[in-house]
């Protein structure tokens, strides 16, 4: 009959070993005659003894160096009495004591993001998404080319985008490896591929919106919101595949990363704009006839609507109206 379970934890709090004992006391130390042998140079050959006590265990410090520290998670603990769930720190080792009847929390339900990660990691889906992204990238490059390009050139033009996606996947795989000791590259990579597809579609749609509404602002807003949501989703998937943080923490982190990245980009774009531009700026893209969703105006209406472009910036202008009393 198990009386006590002793867990060895690493510095990040992850369990590295779990020991099960059927009788007490348990001698802990570096010497080989102990019940729990620790290979920690800061632990004495005979460091401590764990023995039975009322409602828990009591610890007898046998060490002549470094001593014993406790980290209690339970209430009503006396000086050297521990309960199930409490930690003992000796040398550089952390031990956690559990009674076999220690209650454990309910199981997490498998969340949507886990199913999504699993879904996009399925070989058939992953392959389809990669092929779609490659196709869209090449189509995009081809539609902008002024000359008929060879496939090699089209691929070469899109390699940087793919390197970014690979790098992103690799980065999060590394994060996952470090934090939860699980390196799963595919979900990260495919999530980034999904973002690439989304950004291509959003950019195209936004240029059509700008064209038909003759307004860059609405299109930029659309682009900003949709790219924001896409980046939030990407980071959320990355976080759920490489950390064990809670859902709300994931949401907070992914929102902060995504929106700060986008705001930073927007700010840089704004800051890079020159104060004075010798050439006019307007939405200068043209789209085929099908993209015109609003009816054309008459020339007269157009000229009336254009009147605002002749408004004089009174702050800049030295005078607001020409003087009329001069001799011709």
């Amino acid at each position: 009959m198990t009386k006590i379970i002793v867990e060895e934890l690493n510095r990040l709090g992850h369990v590295t070993h779990r020991h099960r004992y059927h009788s007490l006391p348990i001698k802990v130390g570096r010497a080989y005659h102990n019940d729990l042998i620790l290979s920690d140079a800061y632990v004495c050959p005979e460091h401590l003894v764990i023995d039975e006590a009322d409602n828990g265990w009591q610890i007898e410090d046998k060490s002549n160096q470094n001593g014993v520290k406790f980290k209690r998670h339970s209430e009503h603990s006396h000086s050297n009495q521990l309960h199930s769930g409490d930690d003992i720190i000796i040398g550089r080792t952390r031990l956690r004591l559990f009674s076999p009847w220690h209650t454990v929390p309910e199981a997490h339900t498998l969340s949507v993001d886990n199913t999504l990660s699993h879904f996009i990691s399925r070989p058939i889906i992953a392959t389809t998404l990669i092929i779609t992204a490659v196709f869209l990238l090449i189509l995009n490059a081809q539609l902008a080319s002024t000359q008929s390009l060879t496939m090699i050139k089209l691929v070469a033009a899109n390699l940087p985008a793919f390197f970014v996606v690979l790098f992103w996947g690799g980065l999060w795989t590394f994060v996952g490896r470090t934090i939860i000791h699980r390196a799963s590259f595919l979900p990260h990579f495919i999530a980034a591929v999904l973002l690439l597809i989304a950004s291509l579609l959003v950019a195209t749609l936004s240029s059509y919106i700008a064209y038909t509404l003759n307004d860059r602002t609405i299109a930029t807003l659309f682009e900003f919101v949709f790219m924001g949501i896409a980046v939030v989703m990407l980071v959320y998937i990355n976080l759920s595949n490489s950390t064990h943080i809670t859902r709300s923490a994931r949401l907070i982190i992914s929102h902060s990363i995504a929106w700060s990245l986008l705001l930073f980009g927007l700010f840089m774009q704004y800051a890079a704009q020159p104060e004075f531009n010798p050439t006019p700026e307007y939405n200068a893209e043209l789209k085929p006839p099908f993209a015109q969703l609003v009816p054309s105006k008459s020339p007269d209406a157009f000229l009336t609507n254009s009147e605002w472009i002749f408004q004089v910036d009174t702050d800049k202008a030295l005078r607001t109206s020409p003087s009329e009393n001069l001799t011709p």
Partner: protein, 481 residues
Amino acid sequence: MTSRRHSLLFKPLLKPFLKFLSKLLLKPVSKPLLKSMLKHLSILYLITALIPAAITAAEIAPKTPRLADEAQRLFNTHQSSILQIRVIELTSGNKASIGSGFLINSNGLIATNFHVISNSVHHPDRYRLEYVKADNTTGDLSLVDIDVVHDLAIVRSDIRDTTPLTLGSSDLSKGTKIFSLGNPHDLGLSIVEGTYNGLLEKSLFDKIFFSGSLNPGMSGGPTLNRQGHVVGINVSTAGNQLSFLVPVNYLKILTDNAETVDKTPIDHFDQRIEQQLRQHQSLYIKQLVASDWPTTQLGPFTLPGAISGVVKCWGNSDDNPKALIDHATSNCFSEDRIFLSQRFTTGGFAYTYDLYANKALSSVHFYNLYGANFGRTIRVNSADKEAVSNYQCHTEFVALNHKDWKIAYCARNYIKYPSLFDITVTIAMVSDNHQGLIVKLAAAGVDKESADAFTNKFINAIQYGPLSPNPAEKPSIGEGS
């Protein structure tokens, strides 16, 4: 003097010729003689070539005085009335630019170019004006009046003891010799002979075409006829003896006005400049809009041709077989520029046509390539942020003669002359999957009314297909030729 010089040259040549003649007549022909004959024959060739030249020169020379002498006479008579104008930068005390000028009345009024003294007009707090006479005496100058359109200025000096130049008339016949005076590159007063070649035909404002070399520093100097009367004012050059003068008539108008100005001095030259520019542009745009425009055919489009005599048109087309779309282009522009400052010129207008035909592309691809040109506008001048505001643009779909077009209409304001604008209009047909046309129109230094009138007439003159002979479908305007 000249005939004596020619006879002196004649004597030593004549001697061997006579010797040879006597030999030939007195002795029978032998081998050495033949050799000598050949030798002398070559000399004879030279002599005969020289004789007529010598004789003609000797005959003509005394009858008319040589042009060089005429120039000399004009130079000697009038050099004291011509001055160097210096624009002095106040902080350094050194000259920032130089030009020429000349006395036009006994009250010390001096005529020069506006562009010579423009720095002191724009920044009176940073520059002052001074003159240097031929005898190196100097003095201060003050601004009286300007004519920015014709690049003229009148300044006042303290000179009273020098005879002014007489303003003549620029109504000369082509080929008349005229003489330009000035101070090229600060090298000293000099005189240049040239020919009057009439008024420029392709110009918004009158300019005399002078076949002679004007150089920097001569600007503002007078050009005289043989009588020593001013016919024009040196203003610009296009290199290789292509130079331009302002007809003296404009100076006369300005001088008459200077009398009025004398009583009420102008204190706001910015307002004067704005008023002159506004008057000029309003007049020429009004005439332009009122006139019938000839049309030109570009692919299936009927478009305004050379809409005015001042417009020069050029055309080109891409013949790159690798290009995915066919492209033909035509551009027209007026070459006149009104000088405001070193980096800021205005006046004039330009328009271009770019025709695109889809070879075999998808409509999306075609519009991507065709649209790449839509964002490029005609640059009307190189004004900086001190001179103009940023462009403001309005973009909309507009129906022109039953086709859909996208038009971007942009204007930027002149900061010192707030009623004036640079405008650009970019127009692209967006209702056809197989062909496209981009029309660009630009005008510098126009007011809102002129800009709208010009734009309105221009966009309405754009027509898809040939001009319809059926009066029922007659387009509103654009039926020139």
